[in-house]
Amino acid sequence: MRRQIQSGIAALAFLALPGMAMAAGEAKVSCGTANGKAATGKPIKVGGIHGNAAPGDFSSSTDAAAAYFACVNASGGIHGRPVQYMVENDQWNPELAGQAASKLVQDEKVIALVGNGSFVEMSVNAPFYAKQNVMAMASACAVSECFESSNIVSTNQGPLASSIGAAMYAVETQKAKHVSCIGLAIPSVGNWSCGAVEKYMASKGLKGSSVLLNPGAPDVNAGLLEAVASGADAILVNLPAGLAIAFLRAAQEQDLRDKYQWTSSTPLYDESVPKALGKYWDGKMFINAELTPLDGKGADNQHWRSVMNAYAKAKSPRDTFSQSGYLSAKYFTQTLRAMDPAKLDDRAAVTAAIKKIAGYRSDLTCGPYYVGDSKQHMPNHAGTMVVVKDGAFKVVRSCYEYEGPYFQPLMVTEKSLKLR
């Protein structure tokens, strides 16, 4: 509520001083040739779909992409043309997700989708994107279809890679022998990602097990007891933040902090989490971060913050999905700027150009970004580990590449693209 009141005051201030606010933003932040002229001419149509309804909001990815495109437009656009970024909300409803994609791709004839973030949209629309030969440069993926489709590629890692990263830390640093992965009982989310953790553990000659929570079940105690009964010595929390907090509260109630090693995938890497967890977990909760730490000093991370401050709403979260949205929009813009200006409205040409991306780099990710003509895309599979410490996060392991059977085909692709 306080944030909304603050943003209301900020909005009033913005209305009162529009010229000053934008002028200040434009003067400091550039996303292009910095010739000082705003883009003109026929807009380049780009779409984006996010999910925003109870119980989750993934809109920070499209918010960041929108902010970046606004910055691009103010900095001369793409070959002088502005980006018209159209965003739809699937509200976690498969029917709405299908309608949103149809509206953007068939009615508006967008040349690509950028910054998509949803649990639902990718599962529904992956075949449609392939059929329409349009690429989705997503940013907040959480389901298997997002990483195992020909026409979707994401800058974030999703629960599978992030969970394996957390499991690796538990094994290599905390010397865990049996990791119990706590996931959601949704086939393309929890079963998929915790199943991959089990395979990773097996590949190391160790034991992995899964406890899958029904998202509709309010009680998490039974799931915690199931993990305890499994005989694990490490617990990996691979849940949306709200549910993860509830699970850790149940563990706190049983005073299990010192009886297990505790790790988590990225959803707990959120600035509001240390306060919600409280002092009990200080120094004990280790979390995988898919992208660079939010306070990273790299040029792109600094630029992301500047773009958000200048072109996004104050209440728009500055989180991992926001970083991902910024990065997808940046890579998309970079690709279009390298294209023949005459082909910018040709969807097939844009799709081909995106699929040719190989070796883009940013300090926001540990490894190179690439697409390729493949049915599996997961360019981001290296990350960072942080620990909750003194009400904030402290890096305990910098960029490290994840291991396990799931990544073998990706390694082959990267070798063919001469990226390793």
Partner: protein
């Protein structure tokens, strides 16, 4: 009816035994205590529903939403640095206020309508309250704690916090207290008369608005208390707390929307069965249906009787 209640308890006991069969007693003990802790929350919500239904004939689907709004307000005031007990009072006051608002301004206009219509109207109110709550407190990571979370006892190997004990003991106390109130006080007599026949009650001088206001106030207070406990013990998420009303209704059905003792027993069985289902590799993915299975079992048992669940006035 007592034989049916005994049959229900035996059937539930048998179901729990079958699900837990072959597991070590220590493990079963953990899951039973954990299930009772959640079940007492369901029973608490169910008691609030039955109190209102017995006095006004309204099955209040909005009780979860009222509790959710209350606990979110309490959390918000806590964030603003309010003295903790004041935040609880404010949360309880909001839930009670919402209940009184509906009971005084909306419910009287529906007094002559069918019981089902009255119930569905509260569902609409629940969605309005949930929408407003979600609008004010958008999706974010939050947690709500009470000082009693820090104190605990060991029961069958499980650490049970004082907060959970408070929930259980409060539920038992409410069952006894409300039974005494309804059966042995003048106001309780008027409430029962009103529920039995609103028209005749008004003719013999029962002050309908006063009696109904007290009933809605009591139900709102219980909803607020349930919301505070649920926000602390389960999750501080408005939509989750709002729909806790569903297992609570299942618990209320176990008591035929009438018997508070059976609501308590039904709620506890729902919680325990839901918890024990986790032990079954085949059934753990469907454990969320436990409330409905228990409610259906009770409804089937009641089929041979002539008492209609939604037909008090017929």
């Amino acid at each position: 009816m007592k034989s049916k209640q005994a049959t229900f308890i035996l059937a539930m006991g048998l179901a729990c035994t079958l699900v837990a069969w072959g597991k070590p007693l220590a493990v079963i003990g953990l899951f039973v205590v954990s299930g009772m802790a959640v079940g007492s929350l369901y029973a608490l919500g169910g008691v609030g529903l039955v109190v209102l239904y017995r006095t006004t004939g309204v099955l209040n689907f909005a009780s979860g939403a009222m509790g959710a709004a209350g606990v979110m307000l309490a959390w918000q005031l806590g964030q603003w640095g309010w003295y903790e007990p004041m935040t609880w009072v404010a949360g309880l006051a909001l839930a009670t206020g919402l209940s009184l608002f509906y009971g005084r301004l909306i419910a009287p206009h529906l007094a002559a309508r069918d019981t089902v219509v009255k119930a569905v109207a509260t569902l609409g109110f629940a969605l309005i309250v949930l929408g407003a709550t979600s609008f004010v407190w958008d999706d974010d990571v939050r947690s709500f704690t009470l000082p009693s979370d820090q104190m605990a006892i060991r029961l069958l190997g499980l650490r049970v916090t004082v907060t959970r004990l408070i929930v259980f003991l409060t539920t038992v106390a409410l069952v006894i207290g409300i039974w005494v109130y309804l059966e042995h006080t003048r106001m309780g007599l008027q409430m029962r008369a009103l529920a039995n026949d609103r028209h005749i009650s008004s003719l013999i001088g029962v002050r309908i608005l006063k009696v109904e206001t007290i009933a809605w106030g009591m139900a709102g207070f219980i909803a607020g208390f349930t919301g505070l406990m649920f926000g602390d013990l389960v999750r501080l998420e408005p939509n989750i707390i709002t729909f806790v009303v569903i297992p609570s209704i299942a618990a209320a059905i176990c008591g035929r929307l009438d018997s508070l003792g059976m609501v308590l027993i039904g709620g506890l069985f729902i919680g325990v069965l839901e918890s024990l289902l986790t032990l079954s590799p085949w059934l753990k993915s469907v454990r969320t249906v436990a409330p409905f299975v228990v409610a259906i079992a009770m409804l089937v048992l009641l089929q041979s009787g002539n008492r209609l669940l939604f037909g008090r006035d017929e």
